[in-house]
C-alpha cells in the first residue's frame, strides 16, 4: 500500500526520504489508533513497571533511529553485553544493603565506591575476552582409554616443538632426583640424592650449571628468579647462583628436609627433621621466624598459593597449617589413619589433596576443612602434584598417574599413566606448559600431559619469554611489591576488615569517657498524641508495632 502511495505521488529523490515517509505513515497510523482513547492512555500514566519498560523500549527505538552520517542505523546499539558467568567470575563480595537514613556524605561515598567496583568488575569481565588461548585435552577414540596412550605416541602425534618436550635424562649414578621448575616454567632444577645438582633451560636443553655438592641433597628449590636456588644438604642449607657458585651457607637452617618458596613474600620456608619450621626472608637474608612444631620429623610439606599458608603432613595422619605469625598450628586436621605421605594444594586455594600410608587419596575443601572425596589407590601415592588447570598427578612406585577433576566427579581410572625407570622421588608440573616433570631413581623424565598448563600467562607476573632486561625490571617491581610476612593469614582478605577486637576496646574506652554509648540505638519513645491517642493502651500498641525492629539484627556487624 505504501509503495502505491509513493508511486502515485512522486518518486523520492533520496533513498532516506522514502524510508522516512514510510516511517511517518506508520507513525500516523499508530497515532490514529492512539487517538481513539487518548484520555485513558494518559490516565494510565504512572510509574508502573510496564510503563518503565515501554519507556526503555522507546529509548532503544530512539537509539536505533539515530542515524549515522551514512543514513544507516546502528544494528547493535549501545555497549556489548557481558555474559553473566564472566561477570560472576570477577565479582568481589556482595553489595551491602542500604539503610534508610544516611548522611549525605556517606551516601555519596558508598554510591561512588559501588560504582567504581562495578566498573572494575565489568571492565575486567569485558577484557577477559583478550585471553585467547584455550587448554586442550587428550580424547580417546570410542572404547579407547586415554590412560593407555603412551608418551611416545603423543610425542609423535604433536608438532615437533611440543614433541621435543618429552625427553628423558638418564642419570643413574646419583640416585633418585628431586626436581623444581622456576615460576616462569623455563628453567628446571634437578637435585640427585647423592649430591648431583644441575639447572637446565629445559626447552632449549641448554645446561646452565652442573655441580656435585659432595653431600646428600634432601631438597632443592628455585628462589624468586632463575638466578638463584637453594639446596637443602645433609647438614645446612645452601644458596647457589645459576653458575653453580655457592653464595651462602645458612647455618641457622639445619637438617632441612623440605622447602617451599613463597614468591610474593620472598620467603623460603623450610621444614627440618628436628621438627622446626623456619622462614627465611631471601630479600634481606634474615630468618623471620623459627617455629618448633613439636611433631617430629617433617618430610611432607606444601604451600597454599592463595594465602601463603604452609601445610605440613605428619606421621600420625594429621595435616597442620602454619603461618609465620603464630607459634601454634592454625589448623590441625586428621586426614589419614596412617602417616601422611604427600600433600598438594590447588592454585586457587580451594582444594587440598592428601595421600597417606592407608593407601587412600583424599580431597578436602580447604576453605571449610571438610572432606569431599576419598579414593582408594591399590598401592598408595608417594608423591602428589597439582597442575595450574587442576590435573592431579600421583606417583605409586614407578608409575605416574594423572587424574582429571578429582574433586568434582568421582574418578575411577586415571586420565594418563606412564611408567618410569625407578621409584619416583619428585613430581612437578611445569607452569604454562603441558609438561609434567618426574624425578626418579634413574634420572629425569619430562612427560607430555595435554591440558595441564595454564594457556594464558600474565606477562607482568611470570613471563616465560622474558629477556634478561625484563627479568631485571620485574625483579625490582616484585621487590617493591613484596608483601610483609605479618600479612600472612588464613583469610587473605582479612586486611580489608576492621579490627573488631581493637575497635570494641576503643569503643568501650570511649563509652567510659563520655558516660554514654554514642553508637547505641535510641529507644523508641512514642510521641504524645491528642484525642486520647496517647492512652496507655495506645502507647503500648505503638511500642509493639516497632518491637520487631529491636529483635532484628539490623547492624550487619552484630550479625558477625
Amino acid at each position: 500500500m505504501t509503495t502505491l502511495l509513493i508511486l502515485s505521488e512522486q518518486a523520492p529523490s533520496r533513498y532516506w526520504q522514502e524510508l522516512q515517509k514510510e516511517k511517518d505513515e506508520a507513525k500516523d497510523a499508530g497515532a490514529g489508533e492512539g487517538n481513539k482513547e487518548p484520555t485513558t492512555e494518559e490516565a494510565e500514566e504512572s510509574n508502573t513497571p510496564k510503563q518503565k519498560k515501554r519507556k526503555f523500549k522507546e529509548k532503544r527505538d530512539q537509539n536505533q533511529d539515530k542515524k549515522c552520517i551514512s543514513g544507516k542505523s546502528d544494528p547493535f546499539p549501545g555497549k556489548a553485553r557481558i555474559p553473566e558467568d564472566r561477570l560472576q567470575k570477577f565479582k568481589r563480595k556482595e553489595k551491602i544493603k542500604k539503610p534508610p537514613h544516611q548522611h549525605y556524605k556517606l551516601r555519596t561515598m558508598i554510591a561512588r565506591s559501588e560504582e567504581a567496583s562495578e566498573m572494575a568488575q565489568k571492565q575486567a569481565a569485558r577484557f577477559d575476552l583478550l585471553l585467547p588461548e584455550e587448554a586442550g585435552f587428550l580424547e580417546g577414540d570410542e572404547g579407547e582409554d586415554t590412560c593407555l596412550v603412551s608418551q611416545e605416541d603423543i610425542a609423535n602425534a604433536v608438532d615437533i616443538t611440543s614433541g621435543a618436550k618429552h625427553f628423558h635424562l638418564k642419570l643413574s649414578q646419583f640416585g633418585p632426583y628431586r626436581i623444581d621448575y622456576s615460576k616462569t616454567g623455563r628453567h628446571l632444577l634437578i637435585g640427585g640424592r647423592k649430591g648431583h645438582v644441575a639447572c637446565i633451560d629445559w626447552q632449549s636443553k641448554h645446561l646452565m650449571c652442573e655441580i656435585n655438592v659432595m653431600e646428600s641433597v634432601n631438597d632443592i628449590k628455585w628462589l624468586h628468579s632463575e638466578s638463584m636456588y637453594a639446596v637443602a644438604q645433609k647438614k645446612w642449607l645452601y644458596v647457589y647462583d645459576s653458575n653453580g657458585i655457592e653464595l651462602h651457607c645458612i647455618r641457622k637452617f639445619n637438617d632441612v628436609l623440605r622447602m617451599q618458596f613463597l614468591p610474593y613474600h620472598f620467603l623460603l620456608a623450610t621444614a627440618s627433621s628436628t621438627s622446626f619450621l623456619q622462614y627465611l626472608d631471601v630479600s634481606v637474608g634474615k630468618e623471620v621466624v623459627a617455629i618448633n612444631t613439636k611433631t617430629g620429623r617433617l618430610d611432607v610439606m606444601c604451600q597454599n598459593p592463595q594465602n601463603a599458608i604452609i601445610h605440613l603432613g605428619h606421621p600420625n595422619g594429621t595435616v597442620t597449617l602454619w603461618s609465620p605469625n603464630q607459634k601454634e598450628a592454625l589448623v590441625k586436621m586428621l586426614c589419614h589413619q596412617g602417616a601422611v605421605r604427600s600433600l598438594a594444594v590447588e592454585k586457587n586455594g580451594t582444594y587440598m589433596v592428601t595421600s597417606g600410608m592407608d593407601k587412600k587419596l583424599k580431597v578436602y575443601d580447604i576453605r571449610a576443612f571438610k572432606p569431599l572425596k576419598s579414593y582408594f589407590l591399590p598401592a598408595g601415592a608417594s608423591c602428589l602434584s597439582l597442575s595450574q588447570r587442576g590435573l592431579l598427578s600421583a606417583a605409586t612406585g614407578d608409575i605416574v598417574q594423572v587424574y582429571r577433576d578429582v574433586w568434582s566427579t568421582p574418578v575411577t581410572k586415571p586420565y594418563m599413566a606412564h611408567r618410569v625407570r625407578g621409584t619416583v622421588w619428585g613430581l612437578h608440573f611445569c607452569p604454562f606448559e603441558d609438561v609434567l616433570g618426574v624425578g626418579h631413581q634413574d634420572g629425569f623424565t619430562s612427560m607430555l600431559v595435554p591440558g595441564a598448563g595454564e594457556p594464558n600467562f600474565d606477562a607482568l607476573d611470570a613471563n616465560p619469554f622474558r629477556s634478561a632486561k625484563q627479568r631485571q625490571e620485574w625483579e625490582v617491581k616484585a621487590l617493591l611489591e613484596k608483601i610483609q610476612p605479618e600479612l600472612i593469614s588464613l583469610d587473605p582478605t582479612e586486611l580489608g576488615h576492621v579490627d573488631r577486637a581493637t575497635f570494641e576496646q576503643k569503643h568501650e574506652d570511649r563509652v567510659k569517657a563520655l558516660g554514654f554509648d554514642p553508637l547505641a540505638k535510641v529507644k523508641f519513645i512514642p510521641k504524645f498524641k491528642k484525642k486520647g491517642r496517647s492512652s496507655a493502651g495506645h502507647v503500648e500498641k505503638r511500642k509493639k508495632q516497632v518491637a520487631h525492629e529491636d529483635q532484628r539484627v539490623s547492624d550487619p556487624e552484630q550479625e558477625i
Partner: protein, 753 residues
Amino acid sequence: MESEDPEMEREDAEDEREDAEDEREDEEDERRRLRLVEAITALRGGRKKPLGERSEAAVRVSEFAVTAEGERQKVQLSDLIEGAQQSPAVPTQTRKQLQNLRRSQKTVEQPLSRQESERVQRDLAFQKAAVHVSRWKSVVTQNRRSEQLVFPLNQEPSGPKPLEKVVTGWRVQTPLEQEVFNLLSANKQPIHDPVLSPAEEASLRAMSLEEAQIRRAELQKARALQSYYEAKARRERKIKSKKYHRVQNKARRKEFLKQFDQMVKTDPNGALEELNKMELARMKERMSLKHQNSGKWARSKAIMQQLELNKDLTQKVRSSLSNLEEQEDRASDPELLPDFVNDAEPGQVSSNPWMRGELSAEPAEAQRSEQEVAAAAAQKEQHEEGEALLRDFESRRKLRQKEEEEQEAAGQDVEDSDEEEGPADQEEEGLSEFRSLFRGVAEGLKEAAATASSAGCSSAPLEGGLIRIRTVEDAELLPPEDVELLPCSESPPSAPQEEAPPTGQKARGSKKRKRNIELKEVLTKDAKTVTVPLAPTLTDTADGSDEELDQRGLIMEAFAGDDVIADFLRDKRKQEDAAKPKVVDLTLPGWGEWGGQGLKPSSRKRRRFRVKVAPAEPRKDQHLPGVIISEQRNGSLSAHQVSALPFPFENHAQFESAVRTPLGRTWNTERTVKKLTMPKVLTQLGTIIQPMTEEELARKKASAAGAGKEDPHKTKDQKRRARKGRKRHQKQLKQGSGRTEGIRCECKVDLVD
C-alpha cells in the same frame, strides 16, 4: 518632656493671638506678660535662638526662613495657606486637602540618630550583599561535593568531534565545491545538517501554536481529572470501616444481580457466560483455604476448647473401652517386645563370654586380612612374628581402653553431678529388669529358633541391612556374630568391615561414643577404588628413611589408625578444655561451719561461692570432628588493620564494602585504575585559573534549569529533597512578619532556585 514643649508653646501662642485680636488695647499688659514668658523660657535654658530675619538678598527665599510677622512668633500653617483659601486659582480639591492637613494634629517624628541610621544602612547593605553572595552557594556546594574539579573551566573538550559539528563548521572553498553546493541548494537538498531534509524540517514545524495550546489544555484537563479520580480512589481504599465495605459490597452485588436479570432478557448468551463465571468463582472459593476456620481467631484457645468439648460430648462412649482392649492385646502378645530391645546392652561384656575379647579384635583381623590380600602372600613365613606383634597391640589397646574408661568415670563424676544421672538411671533400671526377663524367655524359645537361625546364617550377613527387632524371634534371627561368623568367613571381606564397631565400644559413655563414631565415619568415608592399568613393579623401597616395608611395617600401618584417632580426640578435648572459662571456687573451709581434716565444706556453700563465668563463644571447629582450629588472635595483622571507623561510615560492613575493590594495576584494567585513582583537582599546566565570573553562574543556572525540566538522571531522592526544601522555605515565609525577615526569606528562596 521635650516632645510636649512645642505643643505647649503653640497653645500659648494661639491664646495670645486671640487676645491680640480681641483686646488690642491691653498692649501694656501683654508686653509684660510676654516678658514674663520670655523670662520663663530663658530659665529653661537658652537653647532656642530667636529666629532673626536674614539680611542677605537671595533669589529664592526658603520657607523655613520665614518668620511670623510679630517678633518671636512661630509661623503657623494657617498663616501660609490663608491666602490659598481665598484665592480662586487654587482648586477646591487642593483646598480640601489643605484643610484636612490643618485639622490633623500629628507631629512629624524626630529623625533617627546618626548611629541608628548607620546601623540600618549597614543592615540593609549586608542583606543585599548576602543575597548577592548566596547566589553562589549552590555552585560552591556542588564543587565541594563533586568527584573531580577541572581547571580552567570551560575547556574545549579534547578528542574527536562529532561529524555533524565538523560539517557545519566547514566552508566552501573551491569552485567545484561551490558548484556542487549550488546544485544542492537549488534542489533543496540538505547542506548543513544532512540528517534532516527541508521536508522533514517543515513537518517538524507543522504544529501551530494554537494547536499546541489546545493539545496542552486537553492534556492538562486529563491530568487533572486523573488526579481527582486517583485521590478519590485512594481515599476510598483507605476507608477501614467494615460496615462501609459491607454495604458497598452489598450494593455492588445488588446492582450486578439487576444487571444480570436484564442480561437474561436481552443477551442470554452473555448471561450464560456470566453464570459460568460465577460458578467458577464459587468453585475457586471452595478450593481455597477460606472458610476453613484456619484463621488466628478460629484457632484461638477458647474456640478450640469449645470444639474439643463438643467432640467429647458427641463422641461414642466406646472409645475408652477399646483402648483398654488394645492395651491388653499388646500385653498378652508374648512375641512383641518393648522398644528398648534395640538399644545397646552396656553390661554385656562381662556377662557374655563371647563378647569378652575376641569381638573387639575382629575388625582388626578383618583389616589384617585385607592387608594380606593387598600384600603378596610371600611373607607368610613371618606370621609368627606378626602374631606376636598383634598380641602386643591387643594388650596396648586394652590398656588404653581401661585408661579411658577410668578417665571417663572420673570425668563423669565431676561433670554430671546435677541432672544427667536421673533419667539415665531410670532407663538403666528398666533395661536390667527387662534383660533378666528376656533371658528367661529366650532360653525357652532357643530350641524353636535353632532351625531358623541356621537358615538365617547365610542370608543375614549378606543382606547387611538394619533390622528393627520387635519380637524375640527377630532378635534370634540376627546373625549370632560370634558363632556363625567362622563358617561364613567366605563372605566378602567388606562385610565385617562395614559392621558397627564392637559392642564393647558401644558400652562407653554416650557423649564420647558419638564423637568417636563420627570421626570414624569421616575417616572411613566410602573410598572409591581407582583401577590403574599399570601395576607398579617397584615398591617404595627408598621411602622415608630407607625402612623396609615388611610384615612389621604392614601391621604398623594397619593399626596406626587406632592410635591416631584416639590421640587426636584427646588433643582436641584438651584444647577445648583449655579454652573453656574456668569456674572460680571461692569457698573458704571453716567459715560458718566446722573445718578440718576430712571435713569438706557443704555442697550448698560450695554452690553459693562458685563464681560462674559466661560461657565461651562457640568454637569454630565445633561441627568439624576431625579438625582443630586455633582460636588465637592474629596480633601481627591487627597492626595493619583499621581499628576505628572513618567519619561518614556507620558500621563495619559499609567500610569494608567501600574498600573491597583493589586499586592496583595487577587486578584492574588501565581505565579502571585511572578512574579509581583520579585526582580531586585537575589543572592544566601553564594556564591561569581565573576566578568564576557572573556569566558562569548564569550559564550554570540556565543549564541546571534546562536539565531540571527533563533530566531523567535526577533521582527521586533529589526531587524529594528539593520539594522538602521548598516547603521549609514556605513555612519560614509564613512565619516571617518583619521586613527584614521577609528579605532574608527571599534570598533563601533565591538560593533554592
